[in-house]
Assembly symmetry: C2
């Protein structure tokens, strides 16, 4: 049997965030759904960029943010995702490796440029995203290394992988390898509109046991079961998923397992600056908790702490060591 080399291996779209502050009026004028992620083509990317304010560039990508969070807790982490060998691709690769994450996916030498996500942060801290997938479109099954997946205790996948044409094949391949090796597979539903695009397939993944752990926020959960009633949706999910965590912003989260439904309060936050990465970092803390053998309540607290850190500054990756941050709150990992 393969030895465990990574606590968490993430597979996702490799994206550089282009982050600007914006007023709500701007979102309306641009026809953007506040708080959601929209897929855009290159022409729209240029048009948004021309209209948006001064920006900062920062490596992002949902699963990539999670994996950087895992590494920030001091756990062993790896990431699979596709960039192009261009300036933004070099920035993405530098940042994730500098965060002590193993990242060996071969960059594309031709084709579209490295993926960008244009993120508008409104004064309330909410973020609205527009993603040009670019080179991330090219992730395919051959980018999945069997030995690497088999050596990861958990393989973590983002629902956004359903958008590029062949990434879902990579996803399914990785899940099969992980299960064959006796490992676990986790999935985040990513975004309510993403769930809307792939509802049937996501439900299939849960029902067939392709995924063992599901992360979702309230909006995604409601979209999955097409209901506005939280309790109805939680009951439906509990009947189908082995383990799920529903994040509810300032209301904390609910951990749903066959054994119990546990509510865990959110961590206190002084000021919300930018919610980008909140869900990603929650998943990081929860997965690190599981990897360290903590109970669900403690794992959820680690998730809440990581989310609280990332929403208090601009950018979707931790600005401090999450290991030290958690220790400050009395949680050792």
């Amino acid at each position: 049997m393969t030895a465990i080399r990574y606590d968490v291996l993430g597979i996702g779209n490799a994206i550089v965030d282009v982050i600007a502050r914006a007023e709500d009026d701007f979102l309306v004028a641009q026809g953007m759904h506040k708080g959601a992620m929209a897929l855009i083509d290159e022409a729209r990317a240029q048009s948004i960029y021309a209209a948006m304010g001064p920006a900062v560039e920062s490596s992002g990508g949902s699963a990539a943010n999670t994996i950087v969070g895992v590494a920030s807790f001091g756990a062993r982490a790896a990431f699979v995702g596709k960039v192009k060998d261009d300036k933004l691709g070099q920035i993405f690769a530098h940042d994730i490796r500098a965060a002590r994450v193993a990242f060996d996916t071969k960059p594309a030498s031709g084709g579209p440029s490295t993926a960008r996500c244009y993120i508008m942060v409104t004064p309330d801290g909410e973020r609205t995203m527009n993603t040009f997938l670019g080179a991330a479109q090219d992730l395919k099954p051959s980018d999945i290394d069997e030995g690497q997946v088999a050596s990861a205790a958990v393989t973590y996948l983002e629902g956004y992988l359903w958008d590029p044409p062949r990434a879902k094949e990579a996803f399914v391949k990785a899940a099969a390898i992980a299960h064959k090796a006796g490992r676990r597979v986790a999935l985040t539903l990513s975004d309510a509109f993403c769930v809307d695009r792939y509802r049937g397939e996501f439900l299939d993944l849960i029902r067939k046991g392709t995924v063992d752990i599901v992360f979702a926020n309230e909006r995604e959960l409601h979209s999955l079961y097409e209901t506005a009633d939280f309790d109805t949706a939680v009951k439906a999910l509990r009947g189908e998923a082995k383990l799920a965590v529903i994040t509810r912003s300032e209301k904390g989260c609910v951990v749903v397992s066959k054994a119990a439904i546990e509510t865990v309060a959110a961590e206190p936050v002084e000021q919300i600056v930018d919610v980008t990465g909140a869900g990603d970092l929650f998943a990081a803390g929860f997965l690190v908790g599981l990897a360290r053998g903590k109970d669900h309540h403690t794992a959820a607290r680690l998730g809440g702490l990581a989310a609280a850190e990332v929403i208090q500054h601009i950018g979707a990756r931790p600005a401090v060591s999450l290991k030290a941050w958690a220790a400050d709150s009395g949680l050792q990992v």
Copy 2:
């Protein structure tokens, strides 16, 4: 006579900042002078980047930061500086134009890539800079548009312009145009090591009246007159400069003119996160004050307010409208 179209025109190195947190140990291991700016070649740039932690990219450049600050106060601003037509050059151009600054310098189509400044921010908020000048090397006299300089009330130049080979010719050309049109010329001494490289030439600019307004921090002033005594240096400067402002971090600043030596207290700051841009933004506030006909004390307060804003977050450009920021402190511009 040309009408005034710009309150301030800045000429400087067009640079994208690559900002990472670092421990003091890292600076020692890399042989960096804490708090200073070092010029580096491409090989050293790659070596530093490989060693440094996860970074964010943000448009920078000393005079460019100042000019963005001027625009953030609602004043009319223009910038001249050289990028390459590559990804970072596009980012620089987008960010400065999105800040409502006129920026028409033709980008280089060949030669080295857009300039980068690798900035290490230590836990005390101090920043240590390593600049690869790249395309900024190519700024030359033909990049100076006579009509534009003649239409700017103040032309603001950075001492760093002495580093690229022909930029100083552009500098001298711009100063001559400005004076012929009856405008004023301002200079920042930029960095103590920069002063050390060009002491004689900087003193000449002041003594011959090529510059009317001088900005310096304490270290730069001490380097200029090769003395460790503040009062001695201030006295020497007063004998030679028409108007000068010496910034002293938490001790505020000293405005030196023939008429008086005025001390202005620093604005209160909750937490220093990253001092990058403090001097640049001080100059922005002071120049806007002059442009609006304020007295020196009020202009210095505007400078202090702008500096206080920029050191409370990562990055060298304001995160909020400085016009609104100043109004919150009771100063209308």
